[in-house]
Amino acid sequence: MGPAFYIAAAVAVISTLMVITRYNIMHALLYLIVSLLSIAVVFYLYGAPFMAALEVIIYAGAIMVLIIFFVMMLNLGPQTAGEERMWLQPRIWIGPSILCAALLLELGYLILQPAHATGDIHVVDPKTVGKTLFGPYILAVELAGMLLMAGIVGAYHLGRQKKKITHRFLERTSS
């Protein structure tokens, strides 16, 4: 692999690390966008330019923005940072980190098995992707439509403001 990949990969990893260590949620999300962008670069390097574009547009562009918007809507940014600082103590993160490190080691071991030496990168152009998508996988696309419909209906139903909230906590605070 060329240096471009390593640089992109390093950026992705470091920015992701920043994501998981930030106290401020806004900062974390911005770092995440950086990470996603660098992954888009990796996509490009791996011969998937269309996916790179989708990564930027949808992941970084749509999903993350949605979350940022949501966070801003709840006006959470600075308030929660303090809480987050309090929560994010070694006591909390050491155990899981060790566990995850073990998982990472295992994954690395598995990925770096010697048996698979072929390392060529084949470019798959968007046209092929499109043909495949709307060829054999047309039913899958329709299914994805169903999936999104489920998401929409679910989000619609759940996102509505509650008319009556019978939670005692709220009753207590309102009265």
Binding site: E106, L110, I111, Q113, A115, H116, P136, Y137, I138, L139, A140, E142, L143, A144, M146, L147, M149, A150, G151, V153, G154, A155, Y156, H157, L158, K162, K164, I165, T166, H167
Partner: protein, 476 residues
């Protein structure tokens, strides 16, 4: 897309189409009764569509789907389960001050996901089916927003399902990276061609197992089950217990067939350990549980352990046993949750064990049904659960899984305790004579039908057995 393709996928298409129509119906006018009727009709149409299938031999709709007798049977099973849940739903939701209509859309969509799982033979369709179901379930679980615990349950399910999906995807990616195939037969063919199976592929299977195991609710991916059962509306809990778990189980069976999963002893052992752990953990957790919904959740963990034993017993007797047990379990679970649903009132679900005190003397019929269901769960004769358990043990003995079977026996005994505990409570003298409200006709009708089915299968299982057997034989 040929006509026969479409005809083969008719149940799926009918349900998808009716989901869209249902959404339009909601847009036109909200009416609970109409929506309910429509959903029932959709399920019935789906069931009818099973009978116009053009082919009896496996029909492959490349690359995603395969429609064979196994798929048709299980499609039928899922549709019947969904239909029974629908019967229980109307009254349950009618009592609650929510918008009820979206429930039916989501239920239809979830069923679509389940049906896709049943016929899929490709990672993509697997993933999409799974996610369609999951995302519908997020909405369903948290459906009753007025309730304290519903969001909590919904969010927990969402996060854990997404996490497990991530594992599933990563496992698939590993398999894909090392085999270059994403369809099950292709993966199987590749593995057969290479001779020694690369460990990374096995590890990929292992990671996929996390996703599958999460849906099945087996140890150690089981922890969501009680919380989600408790937090979700009762019909939804019944749905999760049956359709969601069942379709995943069927997918697992198909996958295992296609990749010759029984060849990998290491996977076998992983499953065996999971089965043992599931039985013990499930039963121990249920032992003194006071909340019947949670209790049923824990018992479902144990039951999945039992099913895994049958699953491990091999391709023939074992998988037959799995299907039979699944049928019995579906009937029983819906029946049990149905009784809870009927007993629930506007304010809260009938979920604490005290709610059942003296039920037999207050409402003998409902108590009889519940008793039958619990006995079936416990595997007592005259119920389908007994034949199911017998089938499992038979398969296990045939395969020589003595250790697992002895553990199964121990667990059955532990399990017996808590089922009997509920029965005992029901037969205690009632504290005060509180008259029961009017019983919903559809609910009672559905439950009675389920109980009769349960007893029929318990007394005369030959019919179902031969159907299952024929079906498995056509798969080879």
């Amino acid at each position: 897309m040929s006509t026969s393709d479409l005809l083969s996928l008719l149940p799926l298409l009918i349900l998808s189409g009716s989901a869209v129509i249902a959404m339009l119906l909601v847009a036109i006018r909200r009416n609970h009764r109409v929506m309910h009727a429509f959903a029932v009709l959709a399920f019935l149409a789906g069931l009818l569509a099973l009978f116009v299938q053009p082919y009896t031999v496996p029909y492959i709709i490349a690359p995603l789907f395969v429609v064979d007798a196994f798929a048709l049977f299980n499609t039928g099973l899922i549709l019947v389960a969904g239909l029974s849940v629908l019967f229980l739903s109307y009254n349950y939701f009618e009592q609650r001050e929510e918008r009820k209509e979206e429930y039916y859309i989501l239920l239809l969509l979830a069923t679509v996901g389940g049906l896709v799982l049943v016929i899929s033979q490709h990672f993509i369709s697997l993933f999409l089916g799974l996610e369609t179901m999951s995302i519908s379930l997020y909405g369903l679980i948290a459906y009753l927003r007025a309730r304290e615990r519903s969001d909590e349950a919904g969010f927990k399910y969402l996060l854990l399902a997404a996490l497990s999906s991530a594992f599933l995807l990563f496992g698939m990616a590993l398999v894909y990276a090392y085999t270059g195939r994403m369809d099950f037969p292709g993966v199987g063919a590749f593995l057969k061609s290479v001779g020694s199976v690369p460990v990374s592929v096995v590890a990929g299977f292992g990671l996929m197992l996390i996703g599958v195991g999460f849906k099945l609710g087996i140890v150690p991916f089981h922890m969501w089950t009680p919380d989600i059962y408790e937090g979700s509306p009762l019909p939804v809990a019944a749905y999760i217990a049956t359709v969601s778990k069942g379709s995943m189980l069927i997918l697992l069976m198909r996958f295992y067939r296609d990749i010759d999963g029984y060849e990998y002893t290491i996977l076998w052992w992983v499953f065996a350990i999971i089965a043992m752990a599931s039985m013990f953990v499930g039963n121990w957790l249920a032992l003194l549980q006071q909340n019947v919904k949670r209790l049923l959740a824990y018992s479902s963990i144990a039951h999945m352990g039992y099913i895994l034993i049958a699953f491990l017993a091999g391709l023939h007797a074992g998988q037959e046993a799995v299907i039979f047990y699944l049928v019995a379990y579906v009937i029983t679970s819906i029946g049990a949750f149905g009784v809870l649903a009927i007993l629930s009132d506007r304010v809260r679900d009938a979920e604490m064990i005290d709610d059942f005190e003296g039920l037999f003397w207050r409402n003998p019929w409902l108590a009889t049904i519940f008793t039958a269901m619990l006995l079936s769960l416990a595997g007592i004769p005259l119920t389908a659960g007994f034949i199911g358990k017998f089938y499992i043990v038979a398969a296990g003995v045939d395969a020589g899984l003595w250790l697992l079977l002895v553990l199964l026996v121990i667990n059955s005994v532990i399990g017996l305790y808590y089922y009997i505990r509920i029965i005992a409570v029901m037969f205690q003298p009632a504290k005060e004579e509180q008259p029961m409200g009017r019983m919903p006709f559809f609910g009672i009708f559905a439950l009675t039908a389920l109980m009769l089915l349960l007893i029929w299968l318990g007394v005369y299982p030959s019919g179902l057995i031969s159907v299952i057997r024929e079906m498995m034989l056509t798969m080879g």
